[in-house]
Symmetry: C2
Subunit: 334 residues, 2 copies
């Protein structure tokens, strides 16, 4: 059974994923490239993943057969287990919790070699619809406090399979980074009676040195205090705390700006490894007034400052203003 454990000093929760316990010899294997040519996410291999939870597929096709264009399945090696209750308990001075939760994989396309940066816009919209569908379904379970949607692109960003996919982890606690963001946004709101993210949108549009792209409903810029070279955030212009409330037209505009930004990175940085994380309010309504959902995209370009893992301190060798210039230069496809 996976276990959630809390650090008594920093209050950081960690998943101890006992189901896939790693011994010393396993780590060398993980780092090796697997190039077998076989992929469980390709057409015809549907029986090799756990049965699908949800798919976009023609009405005349059976679940777990080819024909789908988006497919959502449970992670075969889930970090959390949906079949236990999120019971809390002490362990001496420490706090722990049974590892209840969900871990799903969103297979973004049947095309093994595709990538969002160069995908048809329609397909990117379908991916965003799938995010919304799963988010909305899982948010109904009151035991799940937070739903984290993210993507690891390429091995250097933590992807163990090359086939385009995103992941969703729904968990019984709100992660520390989210709590910090909520707290920071609340403090700012208490002081200014304005949303800190709305203020950022205004300043970035006015200043126009870190802004990369905007459309009617979304804006993308390099954050002022970017941690990483070419770190880019995408925000809806409409103040809204919860990703689950994205509208139909916002799905289209979000898909467009997401594909464009990833395309700009693809061209500028030669298909870099990256992570993106959807930051949204918890499912239980906290943050409604002062929080503002957004997506953070982080290319994984440098290992120079490994100490950042431990210190929470970042050295960024590329000023965000420089990064914005490079990304803006890219000519977009139609």
């Amino acid at each position: 059974m996976p276990e959630l454990r809390k650090d008594p000093v920093t209050k950081r929760w960690v998943i101890i994923a006992t189901e896939r316990a790693k011994r010393p010899k396993d780590f060398a294997l993980v780092q090796e490239e697997k190039k077998t040519g076989f992929c469980p996410f390709d057409y015809g291999n549907e029986h090799l993943t756990p049965p699908e939870i949800f798919a976009f597929r023609p009405a005349d096709t059976e679940p777990n057969t080819p024909g789908w264009w988006i497919r959502v399945v449970p992670n075969k090696f889930p970090a959390l287990d949906p079949n236990i209750e999120p019971e809390r308990y002490g362990h001496g001075m420490y706090d722990a919790m049974k590892g209840f939760g969900r871990h799903e994989v969103i297979i973004e396309t049947p095309d093994h070699n595709a990538t969002i940066a160069t995908m048809d816009l329609k397909q990117v919209e379908e991916i965003v619809w799938a995010y919304k569908e799963r988010y909305t379904q899982l948010a109904k379970d009151k035991r799940l406090k937070y739903i984290l949607i993210f993507k690891n692109h390429r091995r250097d960003a933590g992807a163990s399979l090359a086939h385009p996919h995103s992941q969703l982890i729904a968990m019984p606690i709100t992660p520390k980074r989210v709590m910090e963001e909520l707290e920071g946004a609340r403090e700012y709101y208490n002081y200014k009676e304005r949303c800190v993210f709305c203020d950022m949108i205004n300043q970035e549009r006015l200043e126009n040195t870190r802004l990369v792209e905007e459309n009617e409903e979304f804006i993308a810029f390099e954050p002022f205090a970017a941690r990483f070279p070419f770190e880019t955030w995408i925000l809806p212009k409409r103040h809204e705390a919860n990703f689950g409330n994205i509208t139909e037209s916002e799905v289209r505009n979000f898909a467009r700006i997401l594909r464009d930004i990833l395309h700009r990175m693809y061209k500028t940085l030669d298909d870099p490894p990256y992570n993106f994380m959807l930051h949204t309010a918890p499912t239980y309504g906290e943050g409604e007034i002062y929080y503002h959902w957004h997506l953070e995209i982080v290319p994984r370009l440098t290992k120079v400052a490994g100490f950042e893992w431990g210190s929470g301190f970042y050295i960024n060798p590329t000023p965000p203003e420089e990064a914005a210039k490079f990304l803006k230069q890219v000519e977009l496809q139609g």
Copy 2:
């Protein structure tokens, strides 16, 4: 001029290192292995580093010539600049600060191929003495609020040179992770009137499932909520907030347990890449009552969960109890 910038939501400070601004094409170069056989930290190349700040060397040798056994030099590409004042200023809604501070390199040995895990104990003690010496000197400058000593071992942990070295960054603000630790330790102290780290030491000794090694003055264990496989913390048994106050006998015992733990990792995990970070109280006295200095060692074994960068949420596939068993099995040299 490097600039410190603060994220308005999370209050995380970032160093924008403008002096070594990276353009898109530079990143491919950084990731390439450099195997020229030439090393600026070897004997005879002393003129290729900035002039030494401090060294252990025979009395009859000149600075910046061979003969030394420990050498401290300014980083050739410093993240912070000692020749400016730490002036604060606003930038619209954002907060920034001139990038004042110090960035030094502690060259741990003249032997290019040595590593702490297999070094003579005497030499490891000298490294710790050098840490203390630089810490104590820099702590006198009241503009420097925090002194971070850390080590990146091997390229996968961010080391750009193979020659054994540690780094020191002295900065005009206290990093976020340290602030969180101080706050967590203070809250615990307010509630219990005991140090949370002292309580951990007691529970780990009693429980004896995550403990790896102890001597008269230090203890090493896998933390209950370990973020990473084989993450290991070393704590002095004596309650002391500030590394600068390490005693002569503690230097010896710290050097011994540090070398032993790194040796255990070396054997168990085949000389893994790792980072270690010395966690100490800020120089201005905060935390004296409730904080407890320690060293956190993090082997860099897995890329599986890249999303952790963004979420502050960790999935650890190796329970710390399992990791402790493997590390304890290692037979130590005399």
